[in-house]
């Protein structure tokens, strides 16, 4: 059962057409690699806020935050509050992002080279791309599942839809780079926000606040409101998410790309403070949708898959007309995320992983060709990985673990790079090794071995341990390096 009609199809079609035209039209302004990757650092505050918000809200975000609401109640929105606090404080103080933007680099690993040497830059690039692409690999399937469920499309068209969506996004991203991303993000932010706000008002009107609160109270008791007394959350969940989200604010390439594309560090900081509260909405709004699904759907309708509960609920209660706006909003959310992710991971591959191959300066034309080729290859990877990988368990936890592969080490490297004179390449190497090995080992141990249940149950404690181990790796590694090889005398 669904309410997707011809009118809704028209709304979605009009949105897609406008976005594609706008995205492709700005390609004429791209003449250099810096134009392509950072829009020649001409991005101002309001465009930056729209772009950052649109990028950081995809269908996958909507799905896992709604799943959090369904499985944990209001307490599931706590990561959003933690991200808000982290981003607001970083924006206000300029912690790490000011020295990063002032340095004039294109990517974080480029800054690392100045402190830790070219090998650490290269290794950081590999870790960032590995963690980022594993993380992004699930976006397409989840997005397709959502659209099929909400619009009532035959599931056999899922792969065709996923491919068509990716090809259209890749087209304007390949042609216009960051410029296309910024322009389309702006339109996508408006469409996405209108859809999210109207749908939320509709749910509050149809379901009612008291019903939402009572549902959470009945299913989860006080733990549905307070994460510290929730048996599936507790202190380790809150601490892990505080670390994870602070690290993401500091080093997640798609967020940092907005700071690096900003006119100056002051603009970058304003973009952060201006966007910070959006992260509460990013978790709370879909969380409320998830709670509404818990209130309205029977266990048979949910079928044991809490991830798909929210789209099922929407397909039932959203009327024609608004359904078109909702699907357009979700497409907007997904396209803005996909385009920005492809561009920013591509920028790290080009700028850092391929750096050893560019000992002689490449022409702008050759640089642009390679950047565009890399984005196309990432698109192909996403199609393949997105089609065959099957997530087990909580989506947010999967994203957290894969993200931790690089967030833990890169955040420690960045903080040490900006504020610790004693940090060196030994410490950086140790931090990178531990940051990649520990989360990867946890991911494996959750699937095989005698302690799979323990590792699944204590995933957030393992996440906290990763950050501690990585920080210790940096400190001990740096202190172990003999003085004769101190930074002053060369890092390599």
């Amino acid at each position: 059962m669904n309410n997707f009609t011809l009118v809704d199809g028209g709304i979605v079609g009009a949105y897609l057409l406008i976005t594609m035209v706008a995205g492709v039209m700005v390609r004429k302004y791209v003449g250099k690699v810096e134009d392509f990757l950072l829009a020649r650092r001409e991005m101002d505050v309001y465009l930056g806020i729209a772009s950052l918000a649109a990028t950081e809200f995809g269908i996958v975000t909507c799905m896992y935050t709604a799943q959090n609401g369904f499985d944990k109640g209001f307490a599931g929105a706590v990561p959003g509050i933690l991200t808000f606090l982290a981003m607001f404080l970083v924006g206000r103080t300029g912690f790490c992002i000011k020295p990063l933007r002032d340095s004039g680099v294109m990517t974080i690993p480029e800054l690392f080279e100045r402190k830790y040497g070219p090998r650490v830059r290269w290794a950081s690039g590999v870790v960032i791309v590995l963690g980022g692409l594993l993380n992004m690999g699930v976006f397409l399937r989840i997005g397709g599942d959502f659209l099929v469920s909400v619009s009532g499309l035959d599931p056999k068209y899922l792969k065709v839809m996923m491919t068509a969506l990716l090809v259209s996004v890749a087209t304007y991203t390949i042609l216009g780079g960051m410029l296309s991303v910024l322009i389309t993000d702006f339109f996508q932010f408006i469409v996405m926000s209108a859809g999210l706000i109207i749908t939320t008002f509709l749910i509050l009107y149809k379901v009612g606040w008291s019903t939402l609160v009572d549902t959470v109270q009945t299913n989860y008791g006080e733990g549905g409101f307070n994460p510290f007394v929730n048996e599936n959350m507790g202190w380790s969940y809150v601490i892990f998410n505080a670390l994870l989200n602070t690290a993401a604010v500091l080093t997640w390439q798609t967020q940092i790309a907005r700071v690096l594309a900003a006119k100056d560090s002051k603009t970058g900081r304003k973009v952060y403070t201006g966007t910070s509260f959006f992260f509460v909405a990013r978790f709370l709004i879909p969380g409320i949708w998830g709670i509404a699904a818990l209130a309205l759907l029977t266990p048979q309708q949910v079928g044991g898959n809490s991830l798909m509960a929210m789209p099922k609920m929407l397909s039932i209660i959203v009327p024609p007309g608004i359904m078109g706006l909702l699907v357009a909003a979700m497409l907007a959310a997904d396209m803005s995320t996909d385009s920005s992710y492809m561009l920013t991971w591509g920028s790290v591959i080009y700028n850092d992983i391929m750096a050893p191959f560019r000992k002689q300066k490449w022409s702008e034309k050759k640089g642009l060709f390679w950047n565009r080729t890399i984005i196309a290859v990432i698109g192909v990877f996403l199609l393949i990985y997105g089609l065959w990988y099957k997530i087990e368990g909580d989506l947010w936890t999967y994203l957290g673990i894969t993200g931790t592969i690089y967030l833990s080490s890169m955040s420690v490297l960045l903080i040490a790079c900006c504020y610790w004179k004693g940090a060196n390449n030994w410490g950086a190497t140790a931090a990178i090794i531990f940051g990649a090995l520990v989360p990867a080992a946890i991911l494996v141990l959750q699937k095989v071995g005698p302690l799979t249940n323990w590792f699944r149950k204590n995933d957030t404690s393992c996440g906290v341990a990763t950050y501690i181990i990585v920080a210790l790796g940096m400190i001990i590694g740096s202190l172990l390096k003999p003085q004769s090889q101190s930074p002053a005398k060369g890092n390599e």
Partner: protein, 58 residues
Amino acid sequence: MMTAIINTVATMLKHHWFWGAMTLACLVWYSTITIYIAIKGIGDIRNMLRKLSGSKNQ
């Protein structure tokens, strides 16, 4: 209509006021910022494209 809205807001603040207040703040802030960004962002795009085309012509 106005009474219904006031009643809803009062209910939200009465039942688990923290999450009620947080939800209201989200909806008010998000609605406002969307309109504000939609207006001001156009100016940012114009300025950005003007600078880019200006420097390209040079």
